[in-house]
Each structure stands twice: as C-alpha cells, then as structure tokens.
Amino acid sequence: MSRIDLVNINKKFGSYEAIADLSLAIDSGEFVVFLGPSGCGKTTLLRMIAGLEAVTAGEIHIGDRRVEHLPPGQRGVAMVFQSYALYPHMTVAQNMAFGLRNIGTEKSVIEAKIAEAARILQLETLLDRKPGQLSGGQRQRVAIGRAIVKSPEVFLFDEPLSNLDAMLRARTRVEIARLHQTLGATMVFVTHDQIEAMTMAQKIVVMSNGKIEQVGAPLDIYRRPATRFVASFVGVPAMNFLDVSNTEAVRGKLHVRVGETMIPTGVPAAGLSGPLTLGIRPEALRVDANGTIAAKVDVVERLGDKTIIHAMLPGGQAVVGEDGDTSALTFGDQVRFSVDSARTHVFDAAGRGHHAEVAP
C-alpha cells in the first residue's frame, strides 16, 4: 500500500479541458471516493492514475515513485472496471492468473494467490467456469479477485457497482468495505452514487466540471458542504434552496427573510452580505403545527419509518420536508414546517457555504 499524490494535473482532449490544475493527496491505506455527476472528470482522473490516459501536464506519484510516464502495468495498481472487463475466453482461474503469469510469477505462487483470493471472495466452486457462465455478482467478485491476486499498492474501482441490482449493490458495498479493512490497501473508488460514497469512503472528493469542489470525510461533506453544488449533489431528497430577500443579525446569528417569513438560522452573521440563499435539508424542515413556514401539500411519500412531504410555498416555490411515520397529510392540505436552525446553511453569491454547525 502506498500514498498517492496528484500535483497540478491538467488534462485536455483536443481543446476541451477535462481536468484543470488539480492537486490531491491520498494517504496510504485510505479509502477515497471520487464523487460527481457524469462528465465531471472523475473517471478520467482515475484512468490517469491507472496509466490508461496520459496527463497533459502535472505529476502523479504512487508511493515514492513518479509514475505519470510509466505504462499501466508498471504502476503497481489494479483496477476493477465498470463492465468488469473479464477475459471472456478464459476461466475464472485463468483470468486471475493472467497478470501474474505476465510478470513471470512461479506457478505454485500463482496457485496459492488464486486460492487465497477465491477463499476471501467465495469463488472456490467457480474457478473453472468462464465469465459467460457467471451471474453479474459473481463476475463482479472475479473482477475484484483479479485485482487482489496482484497484491497491488493501489486498488482502483471505476463505478463497479452500477451494473448490479439494488440488493446486490448494497451487499457488495459492505463486502468492499470489509475487503478494505482486511487488506488495508489504498483504494480509490469512482462513483456518481452518493450513497456508495457516503457508506464506503473515509474521504470523499466531490468533483464538478473537472475541478474539485470539496475534499472531506463523508459527514463533513454532508453537514458542511463547501459549495452549493456539493450541497445539492449530496443528500436524498436534495437540500431545499430558498432565495433570501433580506437579512438581519440577531445575537451574532443570521436571520433571513424568505418570502413573508423571517427564519432564524444558526449561521454566524459576520461578514455575510450580498444575495444569499438559505439551504435546509428535508430532515431539518419538520412538519410542526407551530412552525414558521406555511405551505400547501403537493405529494406525500410514505417510506415507512418517516414520511416525505413535497409542498408548495405561497410564492410558488417547492420545498421538501419530513413528517413522522404515521403522517395524516394528503394532497391539498395546509401544512406548517419548523426549521431546525442548528442545521441550516447559507450560500453566498459565489456559492460558498456557511454553516450553523461548527467543524468537529
């Protein structure tokens, strides 16, 4: 296992700049997730670490070595592809052995490594099958096994769960997290699915348009989103954004006017001016008969443990809030929400986030 350092990475496809001057440090043994919408450059970044894509400028270090000029095989990385990319004409065992044979590993060592990987991933009974005879989940495990046997310094995952059904995806998430604990290797995982990012990552790198929006621990990203983009991308249902028409400072905290209502926030008022946006996550916007915000119920989603209320403010803006598991609300009802001011966010004109919660 090794640390990875990306220094001033730049990537152009023709005249299109996919990655602009990006630097990032990944600690040894860390599980890092690159999170972002499709086209944000996260897969390109991963492929540059792997050596499948050349950098236009910048440096990549894996461990003590500078690697951006090395071919993929010499970088000490293993990759699990979105389509798994198993060799269709080889058996499971041959798939895992291929990379080891290419570097002249002894036969007995290869066999031992395959046996070990097969044990960890419960592939023992499938070693003589070809990929075409395996289920999606089994193929996924073989792809991971092919990475494990190489004992790489770094594991790279390119959206490996997106071809699995929901159940299997949830189970594989846990398996990969467990694998990380067992192997202790550095892992870089690319996904557009924030649940995968939140559940597996020690560190999330949120990307948009070829730039890093925020680097942080999952809860940090969730509770203190650095930008409005991060706030909107992480969290389901998404954060409510309400335009602020006026503000005042009350005991050092910012109170904001949204439509006709004055809403107290926990955000420090110092230094905040200009056009602002209030951000409230649905779970901080609770149905409450004494609440400050009045709205009209539009759609009610009953999730069993709680109820999601989609409602319309008098100004015509849609908001999403929460109610208890046995909510009696239906379409057309008048409803009032209260705001948990300790969990409010304010975004300034540049999109930067200011939070009620303080950093841990």
């Binding site: 792997a50 499948l52 095989g73 010499q74 293993a78 198993l86 060799y87 269709p88 291929f98």
Partner: protein, 281 residues
Amino acid sequence: MATAGKTVGMPLGERLALIAVILLAILWLLPLVWVTGVSLKNNTELVVNPGAVFSAPYTIQNYIDLTKTSALGTWFRNSLIVSLSHTVLVLIVSCLAGYGFARIEFPGRNAVFIFSLVGLAIPGQAIIVPLHSFFNAFDLHNTYAALIIPGIATPFGIFLMTAYFRAIPAEIEEAARLDNASRFKIFWAIALPLAVPAMATLGIFTFLGTWNDYLWPLISATRPEMYTLTVGLAATQTNIDQSEGLGYLMAQSVFAGLPMLILYIFFQKYVVRAVAGAAIR
C-alpha cells in the same frame, strides 16, 4: 396429417409459391441426379442409348478408371496446398493489420486505413495482365508461390477484421495492459481468441474463393503437374462433344465436387454465414 391440415389452411398465393419452389427444387436437383446417373453407366451403352441413364444396369467402372488413370489426385493436392496456404496467410496478414488499424493510435492512421480500403474497388480481373508480367519477370509461374501470393493482402479482410477488433470492448484490453501484457501479448492472448468468429468468416470465404478460382491459375499454371483441380478439370473437358467417355467425364465432376459438398453439408451454418457476411460487409 398436421402438415396437410396446414397446407389446406394456407392462402392460395402462398400455396402456389410453395408449389413453384418445390418445382424449382426438382429442377435444381435434376442435373445432379442425371450426372450421377451418367457417371454410373457404361460408356458404350450411353453412346447407343443416351436415354438409358435412368435405368439399370449401373456400374462403378468409371470411378475405378478414374483412380487408375486420372491426374485428379495431383490436382486435388495442389488445390489443397494452394487454398490452405493462401487462407492461412490471408488470416495472418488481415488479423495483424486489422488489429493494428483498430487499436494502435499511430499518427495518420485514418488516412492509411482509407488508403487500404481503396483496393476494394479493384476487381481481380482488371489486374491479371500486369500481375502475370510481374510474376513472369521473376520467373515464378508454375510455382505454388505464384498461385498463393496474389490476393493475400485483401482490403476486404482488413475491413472485416478491423471492424471486428474495434467492436471488442476497449476495457478488456485495458485490463490486460494493467495485467502487464505487452501489445503483442494482448493481440495474441486476448484479441485473437475473441476474433475467432470473424476469422471463421474470412477463412471460409477465402478458402472457397481460392479453391474455386479459375482465371488466375489458368494463366499462371500452364504445366499439368501444377494445375489446380479447377484448371485440371477444365483441361479434361475441352472436347466433351466428341468424347466417347461421357460417363468417365461425369464421374470426374462427381469425384471433384463431392469433397466440397460434403464439407459444405457438415459446416453449412458457418459457410452460409461466411458467404452472406462477406457479401453484405
């Protein structure tokens, strides 16, 4: 009973079409049956009564004579050597170049590829005269080399293999690159095994074409011991009209045609796919 019921239920037009096709099938079969019949008749009997084909007695004397006197065996061997060598070389050259065009990102690749496809428009017949002079200059006529070499670089083969290699998911090759495989190792151990269906198409199509080729071997192989089966058979039938040995001649055609027909019946699915795939391209 079930079939009869279905036929009754068929609309008139469809029934007429079916009858027409069955009549055609009989027409298609008839020459084959007649030739087989003639080949099994005594030559003198045929001269006296040409209509005796469809009645006994039959004899296999013509086939016995064939094995004793004919050069068919030599020609058959020549055809086999030429067709197999040519097919193998076409496959090697086309696979290498197809992979190169599909996967190696050298500058000017598209221009070279288009340059390579221009030859699709050149019919073999249009270049036989200079090609003949060319081989003549090196004194290569009446050798296997002359029969094998022309047409090894076939734009069609390049077109087919390039398209097929391009369709193999790039991620599989990227996985192999991460597995420390060299470019040639990727070609040999990953791409080539996955391209077997396209190679079968190209191989069968090439083999059939070479086996049945007539014009080039006719020009190049002028010595009987270098004839291919097609040219040799052509040489024996020059004065068929005066020939007393009609049964013998027809026995030759049965003997020469049978291997191909048997191969075809065994590998029908692949042959049809190859020929159709090659034509549609």
